[in-house]
Amino acid sequence: MTAFHDEVQELRKLYPEGTRSAVLPALRLAQERHGWLSREAIEEVAGALELTPAYCYSVASFYDMFRLEPVGRHTIEVCTNVCCGLVNAQAVLEAFERELGVRPGETTSDGEVTLRAVECLGGCSTPTLVAVDRRYRQSVTPDDVPAILAELRA
């Protein structure tokens, strides 16, 4: 059996036998490996958990963090909920759009960076909150954008 299969069995041990609780952890694991949840990735998860691919897809498609289309090597996620919005999240998002030449939800043509706008990330007192490859950056302003991207591409 594959290493992935074995890791999933480990995850299952955290929960009572016969439950499906390992579905989210297993999907996350698969996404960390492949970057996104392709058909094959979901089938792999289903196989390891003895569930149908349809079931795993049904769960995956419910949650924002699971990507069901290919994504770039890096992700930039800008909070555009009201708290950040009140302190100029829109300008930050636009700065990223300008620098990357993509709209929210799109990936740069070189497949490097996917830009996303997301709902409140829980950093409301340090707007604008931006998650760079899932790591939070607080109080991001439009001026910080070039530096952030330079760092990524470095």
């Binding site: 058909r39 979901i42 569930l51 149908t52 691919p53 349809a54 079931y55 897809y57 498609s61 419910f62």
Partner: protein, 722 residues
């Protein structure tokens, strides 16, 4: 069981007394009050309270409540939309929201006229919509399988279909994807929704979102009648309606018999009916003319020819039954052959026995069992589909499902049910012996079932046995072989007999089956075209109705005419024949009393009449390391299914099922090509590993077995070549 305590509930000022815990929807009905529902469907498990159509006011509760999620408590006071403005507003609100995205295409919707949403809108709905923005739009309709089309714009997301797939058939294929307003019903990667029971979602859907493709634009509700009858395609005998328009069957619907099917039917029973209109369906008799093959002849000539062949073979006629004849047909045929022509020899595709009559239970008792033992190597779903659902229900109820009658494991369980599904069952004798060993006789909730291959083998055998008391020795030669029905015509042993017979008459629906070897072919009718009775695997006598007009005369009519020529008196209609059978087998029960939803009666007289055909030797047990190949008849196979284009995707892949242990032992992994051989002949198939299969057993669909069976050699194809 203790009788549940009664509680008093007031609904719209009316008092009712119901058992504590009764669903509020049912309680209201008892008070003559309808609480409208969409997502509520008790057969799908606990209520989910999703659609919010059932909002009611409950005294002492601040907010409106989803009535479907409540149960009757003593002193409960409930007001529905009829007496509570608050509840009425709630109901309007839900209905308006449901209609916000619902297209106004009722005139072209197959559900129109029999649509709960349409009815409720008509009764309570807003006159005009206040939603002036774009509705949600989707590609439509999209096939989720060749038999079912999905219209996502009509879908109101009650989640009935996905709950069926998740918790009743447990196939986990039909799912909800995405979230919120974007939620949709779908399958994974748009793969076809495959399985024995998929069609049930088309009946569960309360709107026109999931519809059978076969019924698309076929009829309008005011042009049709739903005729109550019984499915004749397997020994379960699910109760169904045939939707008929202008003498043609357009659709098969379930007709909930709570003891047999609980309103679920399999896709074969639902979708195979179009074989009635198969291209090679016979309407005219055919006679073999030397060197010129078959020629069409009139019924008069056909009966003269039949009479001639019968006379020539008096006393030397063998009849091959299919087990799909009605009790009346088998009796009429038997009386003609035995009383009229002194030919008592008949064969059935399988052995029949009355041994289980002491262990009779309704199928629904399986759900209440603590232990269910499934013996035999053929998957239950392939032989008696709906029984598989009862077993799943039992498992969900906490029952233990075993694959051997291990007294240890069965332990002190109070309610034990045995099933035999596969070869070696000897018509129920084998499992009856196990039941006896476990002392299940006359124990409440205990019983045993045998899953035969034929839908009415028991009924046919009883009728044949009952029609005459004389017996005679087997004659040396076969003067005439009379093959009754398509299952018999397709059976190898019957073909073999035909070789020996001097002449052969075949009763068949289709040209294809007997064209090669029959001297006279008489067109037959289908179970949907006959009046009469069937006996299902519970031993339950049920009533079939003639739902559609066949292209040929009814068997009973011309059998009566033919019988008369041999001085045998036969009624040309089912009621008359049944009256005769009933005197001898069914305790004089009147035809009219058989019942729309037949009860499970015992027929003590029946078993004595059973024809005791010689027992085939029990399949030998594979010794250590040996593998026995079980070639089974898949659910989606046979003369009818082969003639239904929409069902071809359901037919089993050519593949060999192996137990995990044997696969490991032979270093075979899923997908490997493996060669299966026995005394000379061999087949090569891809392997599938089935963790639930017992070691020493390999399984393959009959149509892919090319005659192999018994102990076989199995190896990777590569290695055989090498």
């Amino acid at each position: 069981m203790s009788t549940p305590e009664l509680v008093r509930v007031t609904i719209d000022e009316r008092e009712v007394h119901v058992p504590k815990g009764t669903g509020l929807v049912e309680t209201a009905l008892a008070a003559g009050v309808e609480i409208p529902v969409f997502c509520y469907e008790p057969r799908l498990g606990p209520p989910v309270g999703a659609c919010r159509m059932c909002l009611v006011e409950v005294e002492g509760m601040p907010k409106l409540q989803a009535g479907c999620t409540l149960t009757a408590q003593d002193g409960m006071v409930v007001k529905t939309a009829r007496t509570s403005t608050q509840a009425a507003e709630g109901q309007d609100a839900t209905l308006e929201f449901i209609l916000v995205n619902h297209p106004l295409d009722c005139p072209v919707c197959d559900k129109g006229g029999e649509c709960p949403l349409q009815d409720l809108t008509f009764r309570y709905g807003p006159g005009k919509t206040r939603m002036s923005f774009e509705k949600l739009t989707f590609e439509k309709p999209i096939p989720i399988s060749p038999t079912i089309a999905l219209d996502r714009e009509r879908c109101i997301l009650c989640y009935r279909c996905t709950r069926f797939s998740e918790t009743v058939s447990e196939d986990g294929q039909l799912i909800a994807a995405n979230r919120g307003a974007m939620s949709v019903i779908t399958t994974f990667e748009d793969l076809p929704y495959t399985g024995a029971f998929t069609g049930n979602v088309t009946e569960l859907c309360p709107v026109g979102a999931l519809l059978p493709t076969q019924y698309r634009f076929e009829a309008r509700p005011w042009e049709i009648v739903d005729v109550p009858t019984v499915c004749g395609l397997c020994p379960v005998g699910c109760n169904v309606y045939a939707t008929v328009r202008e003498g043609k069957v357009k659709r098969i619907l379930s007709r909930n018999h709570p003891e047999i099917d609980e309103g679920w039917i399999c896709d074969k029973g639902r979708f195979a009916f179009t074989h009635l209109r198969a291209d090679d369906r016979l309407a005219q008799p055919l006679r073999r003319v030397h060197r010129r093959g078959l020629e069409q002849i009139s019924w008069e000539d056909a009966l003269d020819e039949a009479e001639r062949l019968l006379r020539n073979a008096r006393g030397r006629i063998v009849t091959a039954l299919s087990g799909s004849e009605t009790v009346e047909q088998a009796y009429a045929l038997g009386k003609l052959m035995r009383v009229g022509l002194d030919s008592h020899q008949a064969m059935l595709p399988e052995e029949v026995s009355g041994a289980l009559d002491a262990y009779r239970l309704p199928l629904s008792a399986i759900r209440e069992a603590e232990v269910v033992v499934v013996l035999g190597e053929v998957p239950v779903v392939e032989r008696a589909p709906v029984v598989d659902l009862w077993i799943r229900a039992a498992r969900r109820n906490g029952a233990r499902i075993l694959d051997e009658a291990d007294e240890e494991a069965i332990g002190g369980a109070a309610r034990v049910v045995l099933l035999w599904s596969g070869p070696g069952g000897r018509g129920g004798e084998t499992v009856a012996q196990v039941a006896e060993k476990l002392g299940l006789a006359d124990r409440d909730g205990c019983g045993a079932f045998y899953l035969p291959e034929t839908p009415n083998g028991r009924g046919a055998a009883d009728a044949w046995a009952a029609c005459c008391d004389e017996e005679s020795a087997e004659s040396a030669s076969i003067g005439l072989l009379v093959v009754s029905g398509d299952e018999a015509a397709a059976n190898e042993n019957v073909r073999a007999l035909a070789e020996q017979a001097e002449a052969v008459i075949v009763l068949s629906m289709f040209h294809g089956l007997a064209a090669g070897w029959a001297d006279l072919i008489l067109p037959g009718t289908s179970y949907l075209e006959r009046d009469g009775t069937f006996v299902n695997l519970e031993g339950r006598l049920q009533r079939l109705r003639r739902t559609a007009t066949p292209p040929c005369p009814d068997e009973l009519e011309w059998l009566a005419e033919l019988a008369a020529r041999f001085g045998v008196d036969l009624a040309p209609y089912a009621a008359g024949v049944f009256a005769e059978v009933s005197q001898r087998v069914y305790g004089g029960l009147a035809f009219g009393e058989v019942g729309e939803r037949a009860p499970l009666r015992g027929y003590p007289e029946a078993s004595e009449h059973i024809a005791r055909t010689p027992l085939p030797r029990a399949a030998q047990k594979p010794r250590r390391g040996e593998i026995r190949l079980v070639a089974y008849k898949p659910l989606f196979s046979g003369a009818a299914v082969e003639r239904v284009a929409e069902l071809q995707f359901q037919r089993p892949q050519p593949e060999l099922e192996l137990s995990a242990e044997d696969a490991r032992r032979k270093r075979i992994t899923p997908g490997d090509m493996v060669t299966v051989g026995a005394n000379g002949s061999a087949i090569t198939l891809p392997a599938r590993v089935n963790r639930r299969l017992r070691p020493g057993i390999a399984r393959v669909g009959l149509e892919h077995a090319s005659g192999l069976g018994g102990i076989v050699e199995i190896a990777k194809a590569a290695e055989v070549l090498a």
